[in-house]
Subunit: 161 residues, 2 copies
DNA sequence: TGATATAGTTCATCTGTAGAACCATTCGCC
DNA sequence: GGCGAATGGTTCTACAGATGAACTATATCA
C-alpha cells in the first residue's frame, strides 16, 4: 500500500488544502450566484437537472442530510417557480421533482458561469497533470461513498445502515 | 496550456466529484465529532491550534466569511471553555484567541480520529499517485487564493479588493 | 387484515451567515 | 496636536440550512 509515515503526512497536507479549497471555492461560487439563489439551492437545481427528475428521498440520500432539510430547500425553490412537483400515479406517496423552464434556464446559465470560473483556475495545469488529478479525485470520491469495510477480516457489523 | 474541449470535460467531472466529496466527507467528519461540537467549531479550534493564537479578523479572512459570523462561533467556543480571549496590550482593539487546556485536548483527540478516518480512504492509493495528487491539489488551493488576474492584458481594475 | 415500512411534511430549535449599526481605538496627515 | 478615516470587534435582525421527533398518507408483507 503506502508507507505509514508518508501517508500520515499526506493526510495532514490534504486536510489543510481541503479546508482552503472548500472555503475559498465556496466563496467564489457564491459570488456567481444571482440574487436570491443560494449555493445549496443551485446545487439542488443542478442535481435535479442532471437526473431529469428525482425524489426528495433521493436528494436527502445524495446530499447526506435528513429529509426535512430537503423539504425546506425544495419549497423555497418551488416558491421561486424554479421546480415543479409531479406526483407519481403508481405510488401516491412519491412526488417527482423537475425543473421548470425558468429553472432550466437559470441552472444552465449559472453552470456556464461556473465553467468559466473554474477554467480560469484549471487552466494552470497541463493535460497530463489535470487528467491524472481528476482520475485520482474521482477514485477518492468513489471510495468515499462505499460503505467503508474492505479490509476488515470479518465480524464487523457496525457502521453501514 | 490545455485543450479547451478536454478542459471543459475535466471541469465538469471535477464539479460532480467535488460535490460528492464535500457532502460525503462532511457527513463522515460530522460523525467523528463529540456531542455538542460542530464541524465548523472544530475547524475553528483546529485553525487556532495550528497558529498558536490568532485574531477574529484573521479567522474571518481565512474562512472567507464576515467578522460577525466569527464572533458567533467564537462565543460558542468560549462558552464551552474551549478557547480564551486575551487582549493585546499594544493595540487595545485586538484580542488574541488561544485554546484552553481542554480545547487543546479536544482538538488533538478529534484530529487523531480524523487521521484514522482519512487513512482508511487514502490507503487505497500507492505512493506515487497519492503524492502526485496532493501536489496538484495544493497547487490548486494555492491559485485559488490568488487575486485572480494573471493573463489579463492591462486596464483591469475590477475584482481584487 | 393488521403490523410494519416508506415518502414526505410540519414543527421547534440550533448553527452559521450576511449586513448594518455601533463602539473603541489607532492611524494618517494637515 | 488634533481631526477624520480606517480598523478590530460586538450586537442585532433576518434568514438559510440542518436536526430530530411527531405526524399523515400510502404501500408492502405476512
Amino acid at each position: 500500500m503506502i508507507d505509514c509515515k508518508l501517508l500520515s503526512q499526506i493526510i495532514s497536507r490534504y486536510k489543510s488544502a481541503m479546508f482552503t479549497m472548500q472555503r475559498r471555492l465556496n466563496a467564489l461560487i457564491r459570488d456567481e450566484m444571482p440574487q436570491d439563489l443560494t449555493v445549496d439551492q443551485f446545487a439542488t437545481l443542478e442535481y435535479i437537472r442532471s437526473r431529469g427528475q428525482c425524489t426528495s428521498s433521493e436528494l436527502a440520500e445524495v446530499f447526506c442530510v435528513g429529509k426535512s432539510s430537503i423539504t425546506a430547500i425544495i419549497s423555497r425553490l418551488f416558491d421561486k417557480s424554479l421546480i415543479r412537483r409531479l406526483p407519481d400515479d403508481k405510488d401516491r406517496r412519491v412526488t417527482y421533482l423537475r425543473l421548470t423552464e425558468e429553472g432550466e434556464r437559470m441552472a444552465v446559465d449559472i453552470d456556464g458561469r461556473l465553467e468559466t470560473l473554474l477554467s480560469r483556475y484549471m487552466g494552470h495545469f497541463d493535460e497530463k497533470e489535470a487528467t491524472q488529478f481528476i482520475e485520482t479525485y474521482e477514485k477518492l470520491a468513489h471510495v468515499l461513498v462505499q460503505p467503508i469495510e474492505q479490509d476488515a477480516p470479518a465480524g464487523e457489523e457496525k457502521r453501514q445502515e
